[in-house]
Symmetry: C2
Subunit: 342 residues, 2 copies
């Protein structure tokens, strides 16, 4: 409650008006004489004055706060994305409000409304399901916003180039000489899993290694890990000739890794595995996962910059390339921290 000194106290101590103090504090919009400015700054220092951002926000209609809603803050991918966005926001002097939607559409809606009530300057959303109604909500709130890690024709989206990521993963496996390759993924509509699957599949077809239907394993959302586990167990049992697996997310890969291990196949040795995402989890696993890695920091920075400059250019999808990080799981003899050794 001891709200500390106000701009009036500073003005009084500096022997000037609140207007001038404000000009000094904000470097404008009007000029201030050097001598006055010095007195103001001295007063600020002596009083330990800190501006009340609430009042500022009310007046300026701008809070300096951004908002982010993800399906689950604790999942490695979203956690890393959150860190990246927070870093970018912090670097620009902004704060970040976060919320988990628990993969639930209603909860996502509530979280979004909470952000709007908090009067965030802009909002980011990694939608849990079909983003249509969320986009409508955001549009009606007339607040700058962007979809992250997911695209939709009606708004601005910051995403990875997932089709290319799928291609890279498949290509790497092809370079290893694999002929029997399975694909873990095939999600809904235009989500990353689906795009990556499409890219991988296209590449395999182009190299005369079309995926037989039985080797395209569909894993419902959001129990990716366990679904991938079961699907892989099944596949390896019925089709032992498989020598390589392309996982469309690290979670899929985790499930595949467990299934393969239980069945006695050694990943990186007699079974190759390449993943897509490249969260730190991929580096943690044993063997470390070769993965097409998402550019988290770039995504975060671009997301923040994009909502900060509402170019008004209408819906767009800003795509950022993912890059291959070679570790052990593909069979390359790389060191465990990702540097290729042979």
């Amino acid at each position: 409650m001891a709200t500390g000194p106000t701009i009036r106290d500073v003005a009084a101590r500096a022997g000037t008006s609140t207007a001038v103090v404000s000009y000094v504090l904000n470097d404008g919009p009007r000029p201030v004489a050097p001598a006055t400015r010095a007195r103001v700054l001295a007063a600020v220092a002596e009083l330990g004055y800190r501006r009340n951002n609430l009042a500022r926000a009310l007046r300026a209609n701008r809070t300096g706060t951004l908002g982010l809603v993800v399906p689950d803050l604790a999942k490695p991918f979203f956690a890393e994305l959150t860190r990246a966005i927070e870093d970018a926001a912090f670097a620009r002097g902004l704060r970040l409000l976060v919320g988990s939607a628990h993969f639930d559409a209603d909860r996502e809606d509530e979280q979004l409304r909470a952000l709007l009530d908090a009067r965030v300057d802009a909002a980011f959303l990694v939608p849990s399901q079909d983003p249509t109604s969320s986009i409508t909500l955001l549009r009606r709130a007339r607040i700058p916003h962007a979809l992250v890690h997911r695209t939709h024709p009606d708004t601005v989206c910051i995403a990875g180039d997932d089709v290319s990521a799928g291609r890279q993963a498949a290509e790497h496996l092809l370079q290893h000489g694999h002929r029997y390759i399975a694909l873990l993924g095939v999600g809904r509509a235009e989500d990353p899993v689906s795009l990556r699957s499409r890219g991988a599949s296209a590449t395999l077809t182009e190299h005369d290694r079309p995926l037989p239907p039985w080797s395209m394993l569909t894993c419902p959302f959001p129990n990716l890990r366990d679904d991938a586990y079961r699907a892989t167990l099944d596949l390896l049992t019925t089709h032992p000739q498989i020598t390589a697996i392309c996982a469309t997310t690290d979670e899929h890969a985790v499930g595949a890794l467990r299934a393969a291990t239980e069945i006695g196949r050694r990943i990186g040795d007699d079974l190759a595995l390449v993943s897509i995402d490249g969260t730190e989890l991929a580096a943690y696993l044993t063997p470390a996962l070769t993965a097409v890695t998402a550019p988290f920091d770039t995504l975060g920075a671009d997301a923040v910059d994009t909502v900060l400059n509402p170019s008004g250019a209408g819906p767009t999808v800003r795509q950022h390339p993912l890059t291959l990080t070679v570790r052990r799981s593909c069979g390359c003899h790389a060191t465990h921290d990702g540097h290729r050794k042979s």
Copy 2:
């Protein structure tokens, strides 16, 4: 900029005053006649009025926002803790502002100041290093706050019972009949790693299995994983008689798992491993890690409740028990999702 309808618009439409509208909206502090209340609510609905929390906050000196600073939002433990705290805050109608300190004291200080500038109602901190100066900052700001996952005599702390967690881990290993047990941990001062190490060590000593000095592996912070990897590699090479490892965090365990695997020891088979933390990462690994699991949701809920009711009782440490989750890495033949099978 289209700030939407204000309380005045609602008052006008309902044919009453702003005061009454406010009373209706806040259920007090004064009573309102049912008929009037109904008219107000109708007006609110018709106008799609949403209260401006900025103005409310400025007036009430209460933002409805909590703040959290952790060393790294993307690390599994902190990510899960963040989710838990956000869930608890959301359940109580509050928002959460987050910040990463990057394990840096100065950055932590900046993040804390950012929270204060945002006028959060209360703040949580998982300190990156010695929390003394951060505590001073928080105290001077006269804002309710709590340390989480770390204790300090000068303030209120929400933590796990880490000594007991260490004991539980060691006991489980002893029950398996292991005689040569190594300990991965031994952090600084009173941090969780150090407390867990102390607990484990005490239990081993009490059971006449004191840890020889060479089997207590110190892993500097925050490169736990790689340090644990190197330390374990070293230990297993020089002391192959070791049959069990007690890791004080999941990150230590990840490093140990990799080292053991590279050296040809099979975790859960000819080398037992028990970890402490129990993040989802533990369940993801192959083999799944038996771990003494932190009660994230309880910690989050208690943290929020504690700062919301500043009991004024002065510094305390509120301790919550961790519980053993048996999976594969200890040698128990549990199913992969943690249910004990034999």
